[in-house]
Symmetry: C2
């Protein structure tokens, strides 16, 4: 194989590893949400203990990408491609951390009956997860259009976050014994809002890859 | 100049840029805290608007580090040095984001009188800022000992976070009208706890640089 096809083959392997990592992070987030909804402490602990795998994948991706830069001295878009691979894997690692944070909130709440049925939190999560899927797909297929579409949803998640926290707080005066649970749920809303932010960051990296210019799609 | 001294000179310039970036992030955090304590909305807005500078520095550092890898093909510890430079600048960028989050909480609270004098929050912040300083110094001087010392403080900050949020919640039943402010203060405690986490991450990178092995100093 010549150098170019070596490079392309290495890039392909790197991308496969990144897809694997993104899949692990998505599963962790979904399981964290399920653990919260079903008050499934065992599942929450599984999410917490599984985060090491995602952290290790990030290191593996970083090391492979840097070795590739050192060995092949890519320029222009090829160098940007590897830059973006580094940045996106760091964003995905943060998604894994957020899954852990949500799982920890599940553990904090424990078996205490929910102050109300959780309806809007999973709705907000659904929207944030759509953004994750769009951002990863846009990254994988280098699709600027989809990246911009993904980032557009961020405002909606922000709005839901504000409304949801406001609503949650109204439950406290009538349910002072549930204050701890309610604050944990407010934290969860904040974590979901962060999932949307990290998805937007991934989308921005897709635009950077194509144009070489940084855009703040989140402004 | 030979290649080695070229490389060393470039590394030196990169580190100077990183120190500048870390200084900006520290100032942003301190100003965010001041804006919260003094209910200084103007200062909070300055922090929010100033974050672009920190984001741009991160990109500049990433681009310089990757160009250096592509041009000089460093190996072993030199390659790790640049890997760590990339990772540390991303952690510092998150510190800038946290300053923005705290400043946004200041804006949310606005001019509403504080439900109580803020004493423990600045104490917790003081400890987190000590960790930032130690982590950055350890990074700059490649001082493993200091990196480990820094990471040891993380548990104390975590404990303060738990205690503080618990205490904050006790104010809600007697002060239901202050619920929104109290939840903002709980978020601020969470942000400070994240500052300690990012400092620990920087410290872990210093240990990785020296040993080539990843350590979870935060476990």
């Amino acid at each position: 194989m010549n150098t170019r096809s070596n490079f392309d083959q290495s890039l392909k392997e790197l991308k496969a590893l990144q897809l694997k990592m993104a899949g692990e992070a998505e599963t962790a987030i979904k399981n964290a949400m399920l653990s919260l909804l079903n008050q499934d402490i065992e599942l929450a602990k599984k999410v917490i203990n599984g985060d090491n795998l995602i952290d290790n994948l990030e290191y593996e991706i970083h090391e492979k990408a840097l070795m590739l830069i050192a060995r092949q001295s890519p320029v222009a878009k090829d160098l940007r491609r590897l830059h973006v691979a580094l940045r996106v894997s760091s964003e995905v690692e943060r998604l894994g951390d957020i899954a852990v944070n949500i799982a920890k909130s599940t553990v904090h709440i424990g078996n205490e009956k929910h102050v109300k049925e959780l309806i809007d939190i999973p709705k907000m999560m659904e929207m944030a997860l759509e953004m994750v899927t769009d951002a990863i797909t846009a990254f994988y297929s280098e699709d600027q259009e989809l990246a911009r579409k993904c980032a557009e949803k961020d405002d909606q998640v922000d709005e839901m976050f504000g409304d949801l926290v406001k609503e949650l707080l109204t439950y406290i005066p009538q349910n002072p014994d549930f204050t701890n649970q309610i604050i944990q749920l407010a934290f969860v809303c904040r974590y979901i809002e962060r999932i949307a932010d990290h998805s937007t960051n991934i989308a921005e990296n897709v635009v950077y890859l194509e144009t070489g210019n940084r855009f703040n799609l989140n402004a």
